[in-house]
């Protein structure tokens, strides 16, 4: 039984990674969005490095959140439209593992690249040096949380024609604790405090999200996607 369940995870992880590999342009758009929107900050606020340094950590976190949220919208729509979601729902498999596989794939194509390019944005927004490592660590854990929570929202809105804006409304409040501790991690790092504290809370949130969100997603998909 266990091997069965983990197979569902691996199969869906591989399938979704392959799908995004075939549509690289689409898969790269959250990342490009992340970089482009960060360019707006110096244009809109000030190019002064000292002022940018004050807000850089928060801005990078907010944009990472937005990029993850915008891409979460497509998590289940493709499968819903071509009917493979329905096939998954009526299959005898435990729904939780394939769902977790899909979300992991989503994180690998959005959260992980965001984490990897975030030092570049830190450089552009003159983030203080001490903030780089805490930022990457907090983004790695935090974006995984955001992917899981975003997937709950995506499951709730999957059967709607225009779910994008609604998804934002639904998941934004749930994202707030994540950004509080994500931002705090970077700020603690910059201030020379022990930043592993807020990072540990992010890790705890991620652990809870891994345990609970797939159950919620599976439940919601069963409830709302079959009309």
């Amino acid at each position: 039984m266990r091997s069965h369940a983990s197979n569902g995870f691996c199969a869906y992880l591989r399938r979704d990674l392959r799908l995004s590999h075939r549509r690289l342009g689409e898969a790269a758009s959250p990342l490009i969005f992340f970089i482009m929107v960060s360019t707006l900050v110096p244009l809109g606020i000030t190019p002064d490095p000292a002022s940018l340094a004050l807000v850089a950590s928060g801005i990078i976190w907010v944009f990472a959140l937005l990029a993850t949220m915008l891409s979460a919208n497509d998590l289940f729509t493709g499968d819903y439209q071509d009917g493979s979601l329905e096939q998954l729902l009526i299959s005898p498999q435990v729904l939780v593992m394939p769902v977790l596989g899909k979300v992991t794939a989503h994180w690998l194509v959005t959260g992980l690249p965001l984490t990897i390019v975030s030092p570049l944005l830190g450089l552009m927004l003159s983030l203080p040096e001490a903030g780089y490592f805490p930022m990457m660590a907090s983004l790695a854990l935090g974006t995984a949380c955001l992917s899981l929570l975003g997937a709950v929202g995506a499951a709730l809105t999957v059967s709607l024609q225009k779910g994008g804006m609604l998804l934002a409304l639904v998941v934004m409040p749930l994202y707030m604790p994540v950004i509080i501790f994500g931002g705090a991690t970077v700020q603690y790092g910059i201030d020379g405090l022990a930043w592993t504290g807020p990072l540990a809370i992010l890790g705890a949130m991620l652990a809870a999200a891994i345990a609970l969100c797939p159950l919620a997603i599976a439940g919601v998909l069963r409830l709302t996607s079959i009309n």
Binding site: L156, S159, G163, L169, V171, P173, N227
Partner: protein
């Protein structure tokens, strides 16, 4: 154990009939409590030593905040009952609780802002508890938006019930946030487990106001739910009879 009483609770007809009987009394009680509390609190309670008369907005602010939180909990519970026992009525209650709760949350934020100006010198402060209240308002908005986004009422019910349940994760955070990031907001003065740190002369009218707000909340919830029942059950025989009877009464009154 006999469970028929439990299933009877789920009947919209039973709810409609019961509330028809009880609503006038409950409305009267709410009116009496709110009037007493307001007159007592605004007119007769002693002035605060530091804040003078401006503290009196507490008589609206605290009950509204109480009900904003309790209302979310009630909405989520109603949603859970709907998901588990598939009761039509509990979804209707859940749907009705959302706009009332959102309005009360807004009232709590608004009175807080009005209170904050003379006390802290600004309408808005990014304090932990205010922020959590704002997040609560957003949670209500999410549930409302999701409920109305579905053309299929059944899907809308289930989706917003799940969202309300997921959002309850936020409720403990709201309560804990006072301990987490204590900044400007004073720590909560009313505790159920220990004696209140407010003076009894100030506390008693507040207690009356809280009770009054609870009654008002129930009245508002019943009224909203009754409208929802009539709307959703419009094709049933009893609603048809009710409509026929009331239109006859109108006709009779005209003649």
């Amino acid at each position: 154990m006999n469970w028929t009483w439990f299933y009877r609770l789920g009947s919209p007809l039973w709810f409609y009939q019961m509330t028809t009987r009880w609503l006038p009394w409950l409305s009267l009680l709410a009116f009496v409590l709110l009037t007493t509390g307001l007159v007592w609190g605004l007119g007769f309670a002693p002035q605060d030593a530091k804040q003078g008369n401006s503290f009196r907005i507490i008589y609206l602010h605290v009950p509204a905040s109480f009900l904003a939180l309790a209302g979310y909990f009630l909405m989520a519970t109603a949603g859970a009952i709907g998901l588990i026992w598939k009761m039509k009525l509990s979804y209707m209650i859940m749907k009705s609780a959302a706009p009332i709760g959102a309005a009360l949350t807004f009232l709590a934020l608004f009175t807080g802002a009005v209170w904050g100006k003379p006390t802290w010198g600004s309408y808005w402060v990014w304090d932990a508890r205010i922020t959590s209240m704002l997040i609560l308002l957003f949670l209500y908005f999410g549930v409302l938006a999701l409920q109305y986004a579905f053309h299929n009422e059944e899907s809308g019910n289930k989706a917003s019930a799940v969202l309300a349940l997921v959002g309850t994760v936020n409720i403990p955070i709201i309560y804990k946030s006072v301990d987490w990031w204590y900044t400007l907001h004073q720590p909560s003065t009313i505790k159920l487990t220990s004696a209140p740190s407010m003076h009894p002369d100030m506390f008693h009218p507040l207690l009356v106001m809280i009770l009054g707000f609870y009654c008002f909340y129930v009245v508002a919830l019943c009224l909203f739910t009754r409208v929802e029942i009539l709307r959703r059950e419009r094709k049933t025989a009893w609603v048809g009879e009710l409509a026929a009877r009331s239109s006859n009464a109108v006709e009779g009154a005209k003649q």
